[in-house]
C-alpha cells in the first residue's frame, strides 16, 4: 500500500543527514550532491510498483545509497578552489567571532546567559545508551550471534551512526547498519569467531554520527565483549581494555 508520508519522511531525514555530514564541502558541492541525491531518490521511487511501496523497500533504497559518512569520506580531499574559499572564510569567521564575542560579553554582563548553563542543558539532552547486545563485558557471548544492537534513550537520526573500531578486534560486518522504526535501536549485522574478544565503540571523541535529529551526539559507549570458546568457556579480555570500557561507560 502506498505510503508517501513514510517516503517523504525518510528522504528528508537522509538528506538532512547528508547535509550535516558534509562539513568540508563547499556550498556548491553540497548543493550539487543534495540535488543529485534528490533526483536519484525520485527515480528510484518511481521504479517501485504499488506493492513495493513499503517501509522495507524505502529502507532498501537508502541502504543502496549507502551511509552518509561515505559522502564526507569521498570529499575529504581539498581542491584548490576550496582552499581559496577557506581563505575568505577565515576572515569571515574572525569577523563573526568578534561580533559574537561582543554580544556574549554584553549578554554575560547583564546576566541573561551563562555558558556553563547552556552547556549543562545541552549535555542533559545528549542521548545515552540504555541497552546493548551483547552486554558490555560479557565473556560468554554465543559465537553464532549475527547482530550487535545498541538502544538509546531517545529517537536518533536515521541512517547516521558511528560504529567505531577496527582491526582484528572489531567484528567482521556482513551488511549495513539499520535502525528500527522507532529509531531508538540500531543493529549492526556481524559474523563472530569463537574464543575472541571484540571492542565496538558507540561514538568516540572524533566520530559522533550517533546523534539526534537536532545533531546532538550520543555519549560515547564501549561494547567490549568476548565470545565463548568452542567448549563454551569464557574468553579472557585484556585488563586494560576492561578498565578503559569502565571509564568510557561511566562518563
Amino acid at each position: 500500500m502506498k505510503d508517501t508520508n513514510d517516503w517523504k519522511q525518510i528522504c528528508s531525514e537522509y538528506l538532512a543527514n547528508v547535509d550535516a555530514a558534509l562539513v568540508n564541502a563547499t556550498v556548491e558541492e553540497k548543493q550539487q550532491i543534495l540535488n543529485d541525491i534528490t533526483i536519484h531518490l525520485n527515480e528510484r521511487y518511481h521504479e517501485l510498483s504499488d506493492e513495493e511501496q513499503t517501509w522495507e523497500h524505502y529502507q532498501q533504497i537508502l541502504t543502496d545509497l549507502g551511509p552518509v559518512e561515505d559522502y564526507a569520506e569521498l570529499l575529504n580531499e581539498k581542491s584548490p578552489d576550496k582552499k581559496k574559499f577557506q581563505k575568505h572564510r577565515k576572515a569571515f569567521w574572525i569577523l563573526l567571532c568578534a561580533g559574537i564575542g561582543c554580544v556574549s560579553v554584553l549578554a554575560c554582563s547583564i546576566g541573561f546567559f551563562s555558558h556553563s548553563a547552556i552547556k549543562k542543558a545541552r549535555e542533559s539532552k545528549r542521548p545515552v545508551v540504555v541497552k546493548t547486545f551483547p552486554a558490555a563485558l560479557d565473556r560468554t557471548v554465543d559465537p553464532d550471534t549475527t547482530e550487535i544492537t545498541v538502544t538509546f534513550d531517545q529517537p536518533m537520526m536515521n541512517f547516521s551512526w558511528s560504529w567505531v573500531g577496527g582491526g582484528e578486534h572489531f567484528p567482521e560486518t556482513t551488511g549495513q547498519p539499520r535502525y528500527d522504526k522507532e529509531r531508538t535501536t540500531c543493529t549492526l549485522p556481524v559474523k563472530l569467531k569463537p574464543g575472541h574478544w571484540y571492542w565496538v565503540g558507540i561514538n568516540s571523541e572524533k566520530f559522533v554520527y550517533f546523534q539526534t535529529a537536532k545533531h546532538i551526539p550520543a555519549k560515547p559507549y564501549a561494547i567490549l565483549f568476548a565470545t565463548a570458546d568452542k567448549n563454551g568457556n569464557p574468553t579472557e579480555i585484556p585488563i586494560d581494555y576492561i578498565e578503559e570500557t569502565k571509564r568510557v561507560n561511566s562518563k
Binding site: A25, E28, H40, R44, G66, Y71, L74, L75
Partner: protein, 112 residues
C-alpha cells in the same frame, strides 16, 4: 590487514578514473551512471558514492553539468567530460597501465 577495507580503498581510488572513462563515451545522467557502474563485474559501489565524486570532478573542472528539463519528469543533471577531464583521464589511464604491468610482472614472478 582487513581485505574488505583494502577493497574499499581501492574502489575509492578507481572511482574517479571509471567515472571519467564512462563520461569519455558520452553524456550521462547521475542515476544512469550508477546503473551502468553496477553492471561492471567486481566494481560494486554503493549508489550514493558517485555523487561526491562528480561534485569533486566538477569543482576541479574535469566535468560540466547541464540541467535538463523533461516535460514528464523532474529536472535532471547531465554530466559531460571537459577537455581538462580528457587530459586527466589520459594521465590516469597511463598510470593505471603502469600499475597493472608492475603487478603482472610480480605475479608472473610468483608463479615461476
Amino acid at each position: 590487514m582487513n581485505f574488505n577495507n583494502w577493497k574499499i580503498q581501492l574502489r575509492k581510488g578507481l572511482l574517479e578514473l571509471v567515472v571519467l572513462k564512462l563520461l569519455s563515451s558520452g553524456q550521462f545522467y547521475g542515476y544512469e551512471m550508477v546503473k551502468t557502474l553496477k553492471t561492471i563485474k567486481g566494481f560494486s559501489i554503493r549508489e550514493g558514492n558517485i555523487y561526491p565524486i562528480l561534485a569533486r570532478l566538477k569543482t576541479d573542472k574535469l566535468v560540466v553539468i547541464e540541467q535538463q528539463v523533461s516535460p514528464d519528469g523532474p529536472v535532471r543533471n547531465s554530466y559531460a567530460i571537459t577537455e581538462a577531464g580528457r587530459l586527466m583521464l589520459e594521465k590516469m589511464t597511463a598510470h593505471w597501465k603502469d600499475v597493472i604491468e608492475t603487478i603482472d610482472t610480480l605475479t608472473a614472478g610468483d608463479t615461476k
